[in-house]
Symmetry: D2
Subunit: 344 residues, 4 copies
Amino acid sequence: MVKIGIVGGTGYTGVELLRILASHPDADVRAITSRSDAGTRVGDMFASLRGHYDGLAFTAPDATDLKSCDVVFFATPHGVAMGEARTLVGAGVKIIDLAADFRIRDVALFEKWYKLPHACPDLLAEAAYGLPEFHRDAIRRARIVGNPGCYPTAMQLGLIPLLEAGAVDSEHLIADCKSGASGAGRKAEVGLLLAEASDNFKAYGVAGHRHHPETVQELQSRSATPVSLVFTPHLLPMIRGIHATLYARLTRPAVDVQALFEQRYASEPFVDVMPAGSTPDTRSVRASNVARIAVHRPGNGDMVTVIVVEDNLVKGAAGQAVQNMNLMFGLPETTGLTAAPVLP
Amino acid sequence: MVKIGIVGGTGYTGVELLRILASHPDADVRAITSRSDAGTRVGDMFASLRGHYDGLAFTAPDATDLKSCDVVFFATPHGVAMGEARTLVGAGVKIIDLAADFRIRDVALFEKWYKLPHACPDLLAEAAYGLPEFHRDAIRRARIVGNPGCYPTAMQLGLIPLLEAGAVDSEHLIADCKSGASGAGRKAEVGLLLAEASDNFKAYGVAGHRHHPETVQELQSRSATPVSLVFTPHLLPMIRGIHATLYARLTRPAVDVQALFEQRYASEPFVDVMPAGSTPDTRSVRASNVARIAVHRPGNGDMVTVIVVEDNLVKGAAGQAVQNMNLMFGLPETTGLTAAPVLP
Amino acid sequence: MVKIGIVGGTGYTGVELLRILASHPDADVRAITSRSDAGTRVGDMFASLRGHYDGLAFTAPDATDLKSCDVVFFATPHGVAMGEARTLVGAGVKIIDLAADFRIRDVALFEKWYKLPHACPDLLAEAAYGLPEFHRDAIRRARIVGNPGCYPTAMQLGLIPLLEAGAVDSEHLIADCKSGASGAGRKAEVGLLLAEASDNFKAYGVAGHRHHPETVQELQSRSATPVSLVFTPHLLPMIRGIHATLYARLTRPAVDVQALFEQRYASEPFVDVMPAGSTPDTRSVRASNVARIAVHRPGNGDMVTVIVVEDNLVKGAAGQAVQNMNLMFGLPETTGLTAAPVLP
Amino acid sequence: MVKIGIVGGTGYTGVELLRILASHPDADVRAITSRSDAGTRVGDMFASLRGHYDGLAFTAPDATDLKSCDVVFFATPHGVAMGEARTLVGAGVKIIDLAADFRIRDVALFEKWYKLPHACPDLLAEAAYGLPEFHRDAIRRARIVGNPGCYPTAMQLGLIPLLEAGAVDSEHLIADCKSGASGAGRKAEVGLLLAEASDNFKAYGVAGHRHHPETVQELQSRSATPVSLVFTPHLLPMIRGIHATLYARLTRPAVDVQALFEQRYASEPFVDVMPAGSTPDTRSVRASNVARIAVHRPGNGDMVTVIVVEDNLVKGAAGQAVQNMNLMFGLPETTGLTAAPVLP
């Protein structure tokens, strides 16, 4: 059994970690912290978890011994994990950060986007980027994993095979992405109210979104040519799910893009390349760790359209974090992550 | 033209007043106040109103001359209108309060439920209860109108005909009411987020809701026998609309309930008694001031089920307020309120 | 391993059975029939099941050998199961019918409501009513189980403890029930389109609903006094979930209704009596077999309000069917049904 | 008063025409046909219209005298209007077709996409394309107007200013479009059920959509260079609204795209160019004839992103049709179309 601590368990990634780990045969959640809700039992905060964590209550961060855990998940705002990392790693505890502290290699770039000085650039340097499909070996060896953002997961899964093959104009990539409202987190904001955000659709962050630098970093690392990406996030009137519609101009029109994707992901347990002509819906992965991909060449022209769907809270956050944990502890990679999606 | 001021125009009842008044041929909105958004133009706050109020910006309450208005609408939290009432009424300005300050006759009862001392019991005593179907003459003569709550409007329209006729057991009335999320107002609360409240349904306020005493007061005034009411509000995963499902035991089973309702509302422009057997949907009144009513006797037993649907922001708030304004200024009652509902 | 056949697997109860059984350690789905989709692989019909039933395709009913199964689930319209029952039972196959063929004891009553002559009244007589909380022993011994409807499950769980205790006026029971749209099945009807049913709410079937006689039958069997029930179903603008708000007049006002429910369900794995004052939301049981119950006495009067939430496709259909299967085959009752609800 | 006939009034464009015309001061709806619902009164089909068309019932097409109308709207499937056009035009009746019969100039192209021989190529040749912002004079003079599709309206409003200015690479235009479910019409299809399409998002028609040729025809007519367009429609889990996110590579990076759009639409009553940096939401035009546009240059690079929002049933269908009618009959263009959008 892996002894687990969770820091910041009252947001959506926190409750999703609890949901997934409740069915994980090798997980033993020992501690879960929350500054604002210390003392509240997990089942009193989230009725859905009544009966699953009967002994467990949220505890104050300062009063919680996380050093006896094997791994600590940080489901916190940016900046928290890096503050705790040195102590925990020093005590032999592995860290999976679901925020951005260990995703961006370039410290200056991190500090520009997150308006925070980085607390431990040395640990950042050794951290693995937690997208197993591209960093599996590094994750297995890592003490610290920076779990990717929800949008970056989808964009990388959909664009990297094209970049690796040198098949597209890497300087005019377009990512038109749409996310369910849970991607914005469990925070009280007028714009996220049901009465504002339902029966409605809009773009946001067009001038710049924090998931952009992280994505470009990873795309560039797989591309022989310079990468430039236009990324437009949109808010969907629904709870879960990301749909990335990705566009690129083929520089090698002879390439068989369907075969390219099928081969690239042939052995991946959580990436499902759909048959040619498919248009996967987000619900087809609801509450599951699977990402589904479809590839199109409209009118057989020189543009390729790649569709990626994922559950932003699972493959885009908590599920991927558990996938990483499985790798870090030598467990079968799919442990605890095999339940079928919930449809309808 | 009626010169109009609106106090507190950034909530849902405020923006709905602006929407309705934009098409009202006799309305001239001169001032709209907002403490937090003073200086912002109306169209910059609500893009839907771009082009409709080009000269109008929110102003600070203290810096706004409302005494030159003919009428002031208070789309504010409870307690604001009663603080301004004496000054305005003294200056000859009429008041329509969309909050609760002028709804409950019994000052002690008001203070118990709203935890505020009443600022002007004398003005409360003269105020009219703004449900035209039952207080039309008083509204015509009133200087101050207490506009009913959204739930109370539906419950009264559905139960008063039965009580007036002495047809039901008035001590065991049941109102199972469901409201769209806009009824909770435009305020940042976690429980009202799309990710919390959509694809979900729940009751709330079962132990006691502020619309209960106001409703019982009005029902009792129309009943020869004591009134007791169980009122269960529920939160619907949608934006607008109230559906009240009302239950009562018939003490005079011979009464023709369909005819009773048809006769009671025969001349009412905004109450539509549906044909027997109907189950009106809330969208049939979306964005309109109409309430639709259907009456059933399941299995021809001794229970009567009354269904009332209304748009909580229109007949349940801003539309009814404009209906009251029309009455107070001698305009045709339906002025500005005749647009067809938006369906789908 | 239990060898399983499913008849009619392309509706919502069918796909939900497949979802649940995919994680059931003792389930081996051998055959699934569909007249209209014979030849289609399960994963091609429901992308959510890609990778879970790779060898399985829908087959024509006539061409399918169900007699080698241990149990056959009927996820079909009413009337299908009773036509196949004699043959299958004769071959030693157990039957769980998710439609109404084996729910109503009174053949004439069945025929009145379902407009079909019953094909096998003798088998109906031996069938168990598949609500384990009240018929567990009979289900264990049964060859045929009539799985309850979604509404009846909620109504019975909420009303039977009161009736067993003789605590309420059984002749004026009220069930105001609200169901997500999946309860209407996966069939193309204009009224169920997103553009019709979302951002909308309505009652339906007020004049009479097929779940009424089944519910009254079961309530009456637990009541010493005559039962009469007003049942109003409503359509919620959401996918899954039933919320029953139940009202009864207490004839024994001294009874401690909270304790009554807690004691009644103390040992039930799938019934969660919430703390006093709770208002459970439907999402707290989404995709899970749990029903949650809250009990209220508004204003400490003589009325009791009981709230029951369940997932209509799980505890209201497929999950309960698997719970019944577990009982019929001597498996632990909760096998395959322990995953935490999906929230948000 | 303009005497109006509507053919096919039971779909969403039909009921939306009725909603808009109910408030139009110069409209007199004399006849409305429906093959399947002949004899049904309008208010019995659409409760939202009770009280608005009291004398009006649907009539059988064959039994309806449309020749005495001044104008006939066809809110029918493709192919109906062209069958009636010659007779009506011969009788001096003007025609506004909301389907595709009079949109595509190239008869062969029409026949390829719609699988129908064109019934009256000569009338097609004289028909005006009903997008007033680009064809106002032709519409004023026209006997027949082919009202644009919902997607084409948004794409043209967002791309034509760039093409007219010769500012972009016209051969790699991308239109990532998202539509509410009402865009698919009021027809019973499983994929459009609330239980299928809500809390879900998907692309469709990636291999080819009928709105593509119409859009390319119009874009090409405004471009000096060859036009090639990748168009990806997606289905939004909401009722009304289209959001087009349009991408193009600037070939003249010095152009001020914000000024370009502001100048192009400066005198247009129904096109609102938002301030730089805006991300308009679809609800900001709900139930209104306005389209809002925002222009972005992400990272000040060589890509331009244009956002267009419209209500697919109003500016994308019935509202635009009424705008065309106003032009055809010499009425002020905005007559009956000035009500503020419904928000929230």
